[in-house]
Amino acid sequence: MISIKNLHVSIGDKAILKGVNLEIPAGEVHAIMGPNGAGKSTLSHVLSGKAGYTVTEGSVTYKGQDLLALEPEMRAREGVFLAFQYPVEIPGVSNIYLLKAALNAMRKHRGEAEVDALDFLALVKDKIKTLEMDEKFLYRAVNEGFSGGEKKRNEILQATILEPSFCILDETDSGLDIDALKVVSAGVNALRDEARSFLMITHYQRLLDYIKPDVVHVLADGKIVKSGGPELALELEAKGYHWVEEQVA
């Protein structure tokens, strides 16, 4: 699905990612853990095409294409989805309108007709139920006045409607209480299938109790310093990030 080779990224003169290698085959869930400031969000932004980052070295191949050459909206239409760590508010634009505009942009890209209004409404109402969100959220402005947890659910609602092939979840678990965490995890698990890959960024092992990763990576100081199975997360939780950092040093 996606192959990241020797990726170096800086912001201004400051090197943030210093040679990231990562291979995520279709159908797999990879977790990235790492201390604050390690460069996890930077990686998610560079993959989705946010401005302000300079790729100084390396490449990213996605479904056989040079991902970094695509405009952000083209990446999205090709199936790259980022659930933001800090979802932005868009006053005046209703949630349902954004969802429909986004879905239609994807459909247009695939050469499909615009979604029928009634079909769309039925789809959205069905999905919003699975995330245990009130239908009122559809008619509120995007994320405006949403609590932290509501914003995160809203991100997953968008993923559920847009059905991306490569889904990056940037600390989707932070700010969620345990009940919300279960609901959101169920939403993500429902999306799992052999054609879809996930890159799941988190600080906490507890998320991995709900969404079982295939591989766990540790990102520290701009590099993946250790990779392993789900047991690596448990070990990290017990011993702290210092443990890997020391091992590498």
Binding site: G49, F84, P87, P91, G92, A101
Partner: protein, 482 residues
């Protein structure tokens, strides 16, 4: 990758589409302004005696007046004596009686602007008065309106056919001494629309006037007078465009609305005069006095304006709420880009008991433009139970533009309730990136955000104008599901 800020400006700053010039033979007065010119103007229009008197009185008063300078505007000096005050397509002195007799060049012009004057082609339900420079060139659906008792014609024609009616109302809302530009208009106005809706009549179709400035170095001074008699109802639309020229051109209009008991007028404007180029060269000076007088009890007037054009806009559509329980509304979207300046807002004058007013103003500034909201809410001692709600929102695009808000309040009646809300926001790069990440192009994202920002005003526009207004802003119509 281009920066998001550039993307935003690109979207807002679409090229002016209506900037072409119609090549047509015209009769134009030589530049200049004096009593003799005014007399000639009055004569060429075949006006009744009282009109010439009115004009001359205004002119004499105007000569003692000074241009207002309180607005947040930088205006290059205007030489009022070097403008031509009359320009009209040359044709037989008789006006065309039927649409077939109109110069094909003119028909073509309006067609290009999206205003077909052919009654068959025109979307049913909208009658159009087309004003080209100083004259009305066509009015559609006159017959159908006449059957309903509605008078809808150029004001020059009304002066000949219904002089008593015009005399009774003209200048009674905006006096010929009101302000510098209104007084100039009273002296030299050329054409515009006249509407009379008789008692109890709901006008069977939307009425609209389409103003086009074509000639160079002329001013357009239009005059509109709408009278809604007891219990009548009308929706009136106005649109404006002009060619692209390097010189500034003056447009100083006066619009008067009169409402009797239980009458209702909905007045909508989509103003897209040429705004000048990106360096601020050229463009229309749009100095307009618009006022409605709710004379009757329970009458209701609403002004809705979408202002995207003009180099400078100076305009405060106002409501004088005389009748008890009368209602005034003002909904405005004003977009400024490049070097455009807008100083616009409204005045709500509460005199009758339990009068209510609502002001919703949305200012969008981009480029190096200046966008000012200026509003006055005045509650007289007599206006027991008066209420006003004002909401002023500004949206900034980029960081070289500015938005200003001047809400003035004068209350002499202690029971009055006045509420004011104001916000300023900015389209952020994060918002744009978020939308892009959901597959939406930056252009569509800006449209969506701007459209969302203006939604509460657009929903006040008649459907066809809403579409035009949104197209103007480069917006796609926001669909409502469910």
């Amino acid at each position: 990758m281009s920066s998001s800020a550039e993307e935003i400006e690109k979207v807002i700053g679409q090229k002016y589409k209506d900037g072409f010039v119609t090549d047509i033979e015209v009769e134009t007065f030589e530049p200049g302004l004096n009593e003799e010119i005014i007399a000639r103007l009055s004569a060429i229009k075949g006006e009744p005696e009282f009109m010439l008197e009115y004009r001359l009185q205004a002119f004499r008063h105007w000569q003692t007046m000074k241009e207002p300078n309180w607005a947040q505007l930088k205006i290059d000096p205007i030489d009022y004596y070097s403008i031509s005050y009359y320009s009209a397509p040359k044709k037989d002195s008789d006006k065309p009686q039927s649409l077939d007799e109109i110069d094909p060049e003119l028909l073509e012009t309006y067609k290009k602007l999206g205003i077909p004057l052919d009654e068959q082609e025109r979307l049913a339900g909208v009658a159009v008065d087309a004003v080209f420079d100083s004259v009305s060139v066509a009015t559609t659906f006159k017959g159908k309106l006449k059957d309903a008792g509605v008078i809808f014609c150029p004001i020059s024609e009304a002066l000949q056919e219904y002089p008593e009616l015009v005399k009774q109302y003209l200048g009674t809302v905006v006096s010929e001494k009101d302000n510098f530009f209104a007084t100039l208009n009273a002296a030299v106005f050329t054409d515009g629309s006249f509407v009379y809706i008789p008692k109890g009549v709901r006008c069977p179709m939307e009425l609209s006037t389409y103003f086009r400035i074509n000639a160079a170095n002329t001013g357009q001074f239009e005059r509109t007078l709408i009278i809604a008699d007891e219990g009548s109802h009308v929706s009136y639309l106005e649109g404006c465009t002009a060619p692209m020229r390097d010189e500034n051109q003056l447009h100083a209009a006066v619009v008067e609305l009169v409402l009797m008991d239980n009458a209702e007028i909905k007045y909508s404007t989509v103003q897209n005069w040429y705004p000048g180029d990106e360096n601020g060269v050229g463009g229309i000076y749009n100095f307009v006095t618009k006022r409605a007088e709710c004379r009757g009890a329970n009458s209701k007037v609403s002004w809705t304006q979408v202002e995207t054009g003009s180099a400078i806009t100076w305009k405060y559509p106002s409501c004088v709420l005389l009748g008890d329980n009368s209602v005034g509304e003002f909904y405005s979207v004003a977009v400024t880009n490049n070097c455009q300046q807008a100083d616009t807002g409204t005045k709500m004058i509460h005199i009758g008991k339990n009068t209510r007013s609502t002001i919703i103003s949305k200012g969008i500034s981009a480029g190096r433009s200046q966008n000012t909201y200026r509003g006055l809410v005045k509650v007289a001692k007599s206006a027991e139970g008066a209420r006003n709600y004002t909401q002023c929102d500004s949206l900034l695009v980029g960081d070289k533009c500015a938005a200003h808000t001047f809400p003035y309040v004068e209350v002499k009646q202690p029971s009055a309730q006045i509420e004011h809300e104001a916000t300023t926001s900015k389209i952020s790069e994060d918002q744009l990136f978020f939308c892009q990440q959901r597959g939406i192009s930056p252009e569509d994202a800006v449209s969506m955000i701007v459209n969302g920002f203006c939604k509460s005003v657009f929903k006040e526009l008649p459907m066809e104008f809403a579409v035009e207004a949104q197209a103007l802003l480069g917006l796609s119509l926001e669909g409502y599901v469910g």
